[in-house]
Amino acid sequence: MILKYTKLIVVVTIFWCPFCVKSQELFVFTEPASNMAKGNLGIRLMNSFMKQTVGNGYNAHFMPEIMYGISNKLMAHTSVFLSNRNNTLATEGFSLYAKYKFLNIDDVKSHFRMATFARYSFNNSDIHQEEINLIGQNSGYEFGVIATQLLHKVAINGGLSFVEAMNNGSKYQFPTSQSANALNYTLSFGKLMLPKKYTSYNQTNVNLMCEFLGQSLLPNGKIYVDVAPSLQFIFLSKMRLDLAYRQQLYANMQRTAPSGLLLRLEYNFFNVH
């Protein structure tokens, strides 16, 4: 089964790449190694609607997020998690994220960059799955590295991180029967579809992306692999709309709602400081 899906990923990747002749790196489910400009502020409003594996219900999450460029090498994010899992929209936690760009090789219309990042998340909801997810499900921390290659309008992004889950507040202990740590790995491709030629900041940009997201629980070795295609619009060179669908390709760990839609709006403010 694993082999079958691994082959599928390789085939999709190989066939996707020749079409990724030109693209961008503003990925939906992963962060690139690049940072925001120093002094710029970004606000994101993210909605996800994930179909529950048991029953016909959907988990709706709402996650407002603020991002800030501290320097050209360091940026920080903070986000709040709200969910309807208990039938009303309730605040379940927050996340703090910092990213440091340590390698920057720029050339005209291309770059190779590497960054390291760390995340801390707090969540007070019940722990109901084996998957460790610091974006709205688990308390814990994560640290890792990201590498991004931009070639004209094509971007390829890879990430590897270690994640450790903790108790969700004082009420929900992390189950001793489950693996509390895992490796996360991601591979993302993006392509700038429109405009073909830039003439103005007011042109709407259209990006097409495909991301592969995986996790291996340590030490029991259970894994999941998801694919997440997305369509992205950038308006006036400062506002971004992401429409994405995340689909589980393979999993041998228990997950409550792995597949579903994501909608995100982002607005960037320049030179706030």
Binding site: V108, K109, N271
Partner: protein
């Protein structure tokens, strides 16, 4: 005595145009970040971008002291690099000019290739210091550039 007087007359040379190309970007959002970062510099009158080539034509306020390193830092603070910085100078009345260097507003311009023709009209130079051209191209000039906060190393382009 006459020679000494001539040498110490302050230059009236003016930077009439400056064009820079940024590297490391393709998208218009990144391009706008650089423009907004350049807009903040106090000596800049206007920034005219060509998004497709990531090139910016800068105009300066009258009598303002133009600082190339502030321009470079504005680009790097936006998260990108300078691939090329070219400026045009009017050499009228430039006096402190030798074969290898000229001075303008306390700044020494060290010529790596070519020289300023003090009797000529507007002339174009490219800054070849570290951070003002790609790392690959800087290797060509690495052993020739002279350091210092008020020193720039140039090649004559037009």
């Amino acid at each position: 005595m006459f020679l000494l007087l001539v040498i110490t007359i302050t230059t009236n040379a003016q930077i009439t145009q400056l064009s820079l190309q940024a590297s490391g970007l393709t998208c218009s959002m990144c391009n706008l970040s650089i423009k907004k970062s350049l807009d903040k510099l106090p000596f800049i009158e206007s920034v005219n971008p060509d998004i497709e080539t990531a090139t910016y034509e800068l105009k300066f306020k009258e009598n303002a002291v133009v600082n190339f390193r502030d321009i470079k830092n504005a680009v790097t603070n936006a998260g990108f690099s300078v691939a090329k910085l070219v400026f045009t100078i009017n050499p009228k009345n430039v006096i402190s000019n030798s074969n290898n260097q000229f001075k303008y507003k306390e700044i020494t311009y060290n010529m790596i290739e070519g020289k300023l023709d003090a009797a000529g009209f507007n002339q174009e130079f490219q800054v070849v210091d570290d951070g003002f051209i790609s790392d690959k191209n800087f290797k060509k000039y690495k052993n020739k550039v002279k350091g210092g906060e008020n020193v720039y190393n140039l090649i004559h382009t037009k």
